[in-house]
């Protein structure tokens, strides 16, 4: 069981309103990712759920019970910190066992659970090492082990993979999602990396300057972004935004087209311009094209299309994938 509900949660530090009214319903067993630029309040929101910060206003419910004022230790949640926050003077075993020890479990049961958690995370050979004798990835696993061994109502992750190198990050991403699905425990996961968000989440919360911009499944956010911010934040390379005359023809203040929905060709239909940069990845080509009266647009093509910087190119947006936004940046739906 682990349904987390936020009702009008606000948080201010001194006079700064950092979380401006969050309403959220996180279903039991789901994997929810908070994503947003640095400093938008993701960590703060997670710490509010954990109980490490007091809310300024609003209610937080866990399985229907209001936990505002309940200390972290009584909320039944466990957290994986960005810095891992392992206990440096305890062995891996001691780190994983600490929560169980505090709960007063008998020694034999603690040993059994710690060993089971270690086996799940491939930590068995390292049980008697100190954290400083482990690699970054292994420390990460210990932090996760410490969280799962207590069988909490929900896991809270604060950018757990941001200190790992790229290859390990991809691997751990898969392992964390697999583990979560296997345990079927609610997970709230904070990241600033939209790729992590898109690949891991059942549902994504996009935060911007302390506001929830949109809450939905990854594909929902990709296909129907609620506003300019979400449209620009989700997807890589970034969506192209076009204002002025061209947008008016679509009855919008701004239109947006994703690079993958623009067809680039040497001579063909569409806007004509000069290629300023061409990024050849082999599998894809990203073309940055300067178009008079519109600006610099990015187009993504599959494979190699033989255009490079300095060439003239034509860009044709796919009309079915043009996003329209009003003057306030809200999405307009046909």
């Amino acid at each position: 069981m682990g349904r987390i509900t936020l009702e009008g949660v606000r948080k201010s530090f001194a006079s700064h309103l950092i979380i401006q009214g969050a309403d959220l319903d996180i279903e039991d067993g789901s994997f929810v990712v908070f994503v947003g630029p640095s400093g938008c309040g993701k960590t703060t929101l997670l710490r509010l759920i954990a109980g490490l910060e007091d809310v300024s206003d609003g209610r937080i419910l866990i399985d229907g019970a209001n936990v505002v004022g309940v200390p972290p230790s009584k909320r039944g949640l466990s957290m994986v910190f960005q810095s891992y926050a392992l206990y440096p003077h305890m062995s891996v075993r001691g780190n994983i066992a600490f929560g169980l020890k505090m709960a007063g479990l008998p020694k034999s049961e603690i040993d059994r659970k710690v060993e089971a958690a270690a086996a799940t995370l491939n930590l068995t050979p390292y049980l008697d090492r100190k954290p400083r004798e482990l690699s970054g990835g292994q420390r990460q696993r210990v932090a996760i082990g410490r969280a799962i061994v207590r069988e909490p109502k929900a896991f809270l992750f604060d950018e757990p993979l941001s200190n790992l190198d790229a290859a390990l990050r991809v691997q751990m991403r898969l392992e964390v999602t697999r583990l979560q699905r296997q345990l079927a425990t609610t997970a709230v996961y904070v990241t600033h990396d939209q790729v992590e968000a898109m690949t891991m989440a059942d549902r994504i919360v996009v935060l911007n300057a302390g506001r929830i911009e949109q809450y939905g499944s990854p594909l929902e956010l990709y296909e129907r972004p609620a506003n300019v911010f979400v449209a620009g934040f989700i997807g890589s390379p970034r969506m192209n935004f076009i204002g002025n005359e061209s947008a008016k023809r679509y009855g919008a203040a701004t239109i947006g087209v994703r690079p993958e929905h623009i067809k680039a060709s040497r001579d063909g239909e569409g806007w004509e311009g000069v290629v300023t940069d061409a990024e050849h990845l082999g599998s894809d080509t990203f073309l940055h094209v300067d178009i008079a009266g519109i600006g610099n647009l990015t187009a993504r093509s599959i494979g190699e299309i033989g255009l490079s910087a300095g060439d003239r190119a034509h860009l044709l947006p796919d009309p079915a994938h043009i996003h329209r936004f009003d003057a306030d940046g809200k999405a307009l739906h046909a």
């Binding site: 972290p72 957290m79 926050a85 206990y87 440096p88 929560g99 207590r150």
Partner: protein, 290 residues
């Protein structure tokens, strides 16, 4: 110091300092050893004669020696216990966000800047004086009999004075260590269900193990040589009740003018200090290993 070359260069560069320090140390040591084998009394100069180990025999069999050894150990041990325990508590207090924290910190550190002679005089005449002292006044106000500290509990009085002087040192080191404790570790313990006391015991105290070791080692070195506080307040008395090794050597040399025995005593003190250091490093030193 990664390569052969930098290591070699490093050795050459520190050689002058090491040689200077070595000479600085070895000259007085050799002279002390030399004096300790002489029958050398300042009252009849020019009549020195070689007596071998007689001075050592004389010093070690003097009943004052065992008494002052015991006093030294009690003094060092008690001051260590007081400063570490109280220092930890004060440091925990100062680590909290209290109003006027910087001023409070300055006040806590102040005793360390007061000369031992001055602080001993202040304690003797303003605080512990049986008639005009503050403690006597408090006792009388409460209807109790004032304590004549230096007559009834002289060693305890010295211990209190010295502990007061060394408390800031312990507090300062432990406070710095507390401030370097990762807040997230405490939060992780909190999420793990630890209450305040468990967090202190399992996280904070473990983190303090190393700085506490440093405090113990440094204080032990200096506390074996406490002198001014005794000289100013009790003069080693009543009887031998507050005479420690340092004071005993002083009284040999400059009250009985016996330089030979005092030198022997000094060397005995050096050996004792090394024995203490040896055991100390064995007991607490492993905390210093990375």
């Amino acid at each position: 110091m990664a390569t052969e070359q930098t290591r070699g260069l490093g050795r050459i560069l520190i050689a002058p300092a090491v040689i200077a320090l070595f000479v600085w140390m070895i000259v007085p040591l050799v002279m002390t050893i030399y004096f300790s084998t002489l029958d050398y009394n300042l009252l009849n100069p020019g009549s020195e004669s070689f007596v071998g180990l007689e001075n050592y025999f004389y010093f070690l069999t003097d009943p004052a020696f065992l008494a002052s050894l015991q006093n030294t150990l009690v003094l060092v041990g008690s001051v260590l216990a007081i400063t570490v325990v109280v220092g930890t508590l004060v440091a925990l207090l100062l680590d909290q966000a209290v109003i006027g924290r910087s001023i409070v910190r300055l006040m806590v550190i102040a005793p360390f800047f007061v000369m031992p002679t001055v602080s001993a005089l202040v304690w003797k005449n303003l605080l512990m004086h049986p008639v005009s002292g503050l403690f006597a006044w408090i006792a009388t106000s409460l209807g109790l009999r004032p304590i004549d500290w230096f007559a009834e509990a002289p060693l305890l009085a010295i211990i209190l004075i010295v502990a007061w002087q060394w408390l800031p040192f312990a507090t300062l080191i432990l406070l710095t260590a507390l401030q370097s404790l990762d807040e997230e570790q405490k939060e992780a313990a909190e999420m793990d269900g630890a209450r305040a006391f468990s967090t202190f015991f399992h996280i904070t105290l473990q983190h303090l193990a190393r700085p506490i070791t440093v405090v113990i080692l440094i204080e032990t070195i200096f506390l074996q040589t406490v002198f001014a506080e005794i000289y100013v307040t009790t003069g080693g008395g009543p009887g031998l009740q507050t005479t420690n090794i340092a004071f005993l050597i002083y009284s040999q040399a400059l009250i009985q003018f016996d330089v030979g025995t005092a030198s022997a005593g000094g060397l005995v003190a050096v050996v004792l200090a090394n024995i203490v250091a040896f055991f100390l490093v064995r007991i607490v030193g492993r905390n210093l290993e990375a």
